[in-house]
Symmetry: C2
Subunit: 158 residues, 2 copies
């Protein structure tokens, strides 16, 4: 569902930008942005996004993306790409078509997400091959891209 992915990305943004200390607070913000949802769904979203609740000296408790911590320096924030044309799957890999010359920048962006799901990428001139880890489903890769790449959704045909 398109709306869910938007919502997830919005939540990610909100948590990255401000210090939020309860689901109620976040829920209000989301509703003001036009997302019609309940606290239960938010709780599930946070679980899905692996958002941790940690003590904070200022606000008592704040939410934060788990990756922000654990891993690499960056690897968080939304990623924007340009030149994306289409995506297809074959042999359990994703083949992304791009405008000429845009492949490597897109591959670079994907690498920088540092996501578990992606074992690696190979970029030609107008094609990016995304190699998922064993056991990762096509669907997971699509979700990853939808959730993390601004506007990816909109540019999808099917």
């Amino acid at each position: 569902m398109k709306d869910r992915n938007n919502r997830l990305m919005t939540i990610r943004r909100m948590i990255n930008s401000r210090n939020i200390s309860s689901q109620e607070e976040l829920l209000d913000m989301l509703r003001k942005q036009g997302f019609n949802m309940t606290q239960a769904t938010l709780s599930r979203d946070l679980k899905y996004l692996k958002v941790a609740k940690m003590p904070d000296s200022d606000r008592g408790y704040i939410y934060m993306l788990a990756e922000r911590n654990l891993n690499k320096p960056s690897g968080n924030d939304d990623i924007s790409i340009s030149g994306f044309v289409s995506i297809d799957f074959a042999r359990d890999m994703a083949i992304m078509k791009t405008l000429p010359g845009h492949a490597s920048s897109i591959a670079y962006a994907i690498d920088n997400m540092n996501s578990y799901e992606v074992a690696g990428t190979v970029a030609g001139d107008d094609t990016v091959l995304v190699i998922p880890r064993d056991g990762v489903a096509k669907k997971d890769i699509l979700n990853l891209l939808k959730n993390r790449i601004s506007g990816f959704n909109e540019r999808m045909k099917n």
Copy 2:
């Protein structure tokens, strides 16, 4: 209080070693170790230790030390030192006396805690000068050492 510091260190250890998914669970473990306390106190301890609760694909949710994430590679686990003799304060700094030749290893250990409170250390042969950041109280430094250095407490006179 001596018991509190033991408890805090034990909690830290437990969280680092196993995957714990609720305060009740941790509380049981602590009680089996002889700590007589309530869940309310545990909640406060976790806040004090900045322990975050984060979603985990295996256990649903797990607790983890915030530092483990955020910061430097290590800087977590307990630290053990040898050769510590005494500690004193002067001019808002801590002067640790050690056995001859032990100063630098102790200073090294303290540096490795990567704690906010300590701006830096200087080690001679049998003396370590610990320089707290501005605004950090003597008490905070003592707590830090008590909480993180195994056996520090026991070796304290007063």
